[in-house]
């Protein structure tokens, strides 16, 4: 039985290797200036006044894929919340206050708003410069956890009403869906970017629905990361197993 398994692995591996080698031999040259898909994507994004082609691909040409990615993140966080909940044989101990060196504490308090505004900047300028909802959302959520690193978990819990973040996570996913359905109601396809004016090239209002979808994704990612880290922190800092159970 074991030998059979090894043979199966060897045959499968050899087949995969052969296919990969065949595919590699047929690849276009490294670092070419033109690519059939790339040229078309750039053309389409310029036609809709979106300066950042990647944003145009993510939120306009393939906005449907992004909806899938967004729901994957939502479902993954939901799964973590269920797995990391407080079980019946566990109890919560209040987090111990920590004495952090003063320069580190002050650094955390100063950088927290700066990082938050930078994250919002990255979200808002997704259609103009590199960045977008995902990147900016993660930065904004990380900024909040400077309070845990620079002080203690109690301080983070005081500025982080978890229910608000759970709600805004769901609201953001709904907002993305509503934006998609709005174009259906207007008589075009789901998530087709034809409803809003395209605006002036290289300004904040350019790109039609791209900035709005970006904002929805940014809100979803930021709340999802906060909720995810909250449950990890709960488990690591607060929740303890009952002794002798």
């Amino acid at each position: 039985m074991n030998r059979l398994r090894l043979w199966l692995l060897a045959v499968g591996g050899a087949g995969l290797a052969a296919l990969l080698v065949a595919a590699c031999l047929d690849l276009p040259g490294f670092g070419g200036r033109h690519h059939p898909y790339g040229d078309r994507a750039v053309q389409a994004s310029l036609a809709r006044h979106t300066a950042n082609t990647i944003s145009s691909v993510n939120f306009d040409q393939r906005a449907y894929d992004t909806l899938g990615e967004m729901s994957i993140l939502f479902a993954a966080v939901l799964g973590c919340v269920v797995l990391l909940r407080q079980a019946r044989d566990e109890h919560r101990a209040p987090p111990e206050p920590a004495e952090v060196a003063r320069p580190v504490r002050r650094y955390a308090l100063l950088v927290l708003p700066v990082a938050l505004v930078t994250g919002l900047y990255v979200v808002a300028h997704g259609q103009l410069s590199p960045g977008g909802g995902f990147q900016g959302g993660v930065v904004a959520a990380t900024a909040l956890h400077l309070l845990y690193l620079g002080a203690d978990y109690g301080a983070l819990e005081r500025v982080r009403p978890l229910g608000v973040y759970e709600t805004s996570d769901a609201v953001a996913v709904c907002a993305y869906l509503v934006l998609g359905l709005a174009s259906v109601l207007a008589g075009t396809a789901f998530l087709a970017n034809t409803l809003l004016p395209y605006g002036t090239f290289n300004t904040l209002s350019s790109g039609g629905a791209v900035p709005l979808l970006n904002a929805a994704v940014g809100m979803e990612v930021a709340s999802a990361v906060v909720v995810l880290l909250a449950h990890f922190l709960d488990q690591a800092v607060e929740i303890e197993e009952e002794h002798g159970s």
Binding site: V138, A141, T142, H145, L229, H243, G244
Partner: protein
């Protein structure tokens, strides 16, 4: 000549990814992983993909290390409290 930078960064990525796998202790693995995350962001920039680089930077530099280290802390604490209970 212009490809020298790409070669240097690719070699570093290969070396640090191998090193991350070769570490045995999860905490040390997390350290190498955070280095690898930053390095990958540099690789994506060199390959003219700053959007992907930003994603990698946002996730790899602080978020992934925090998740891994919180898991490590939980497991260590659990081991300690089991010893206390005995």
């Amino acid at each position: 000549m212009a490809d020298a930078l790409i070669v240097v960064v690719l070699l570093l990525v290969a070396a640090s990814a191998t090193a991350a796998v070769a570490q045995r202790d999860p905490a040390r693995q997390a350290l190498v992983l955070s280095f690898l995350g930053t390095l990958l962001a540099a690789l994506f920039t060199v390959l003219q993909a700053p959007d992907v680089g930003l994603s990698q930077l946002a996730v790899g530099s602080a978020l992934t290390p925090l998740l891994i280290m919180l898991c490590v802390r939980k497991i260590r604490r659990r081991g300690r409290s089991k010893e206390d209970a005995r």
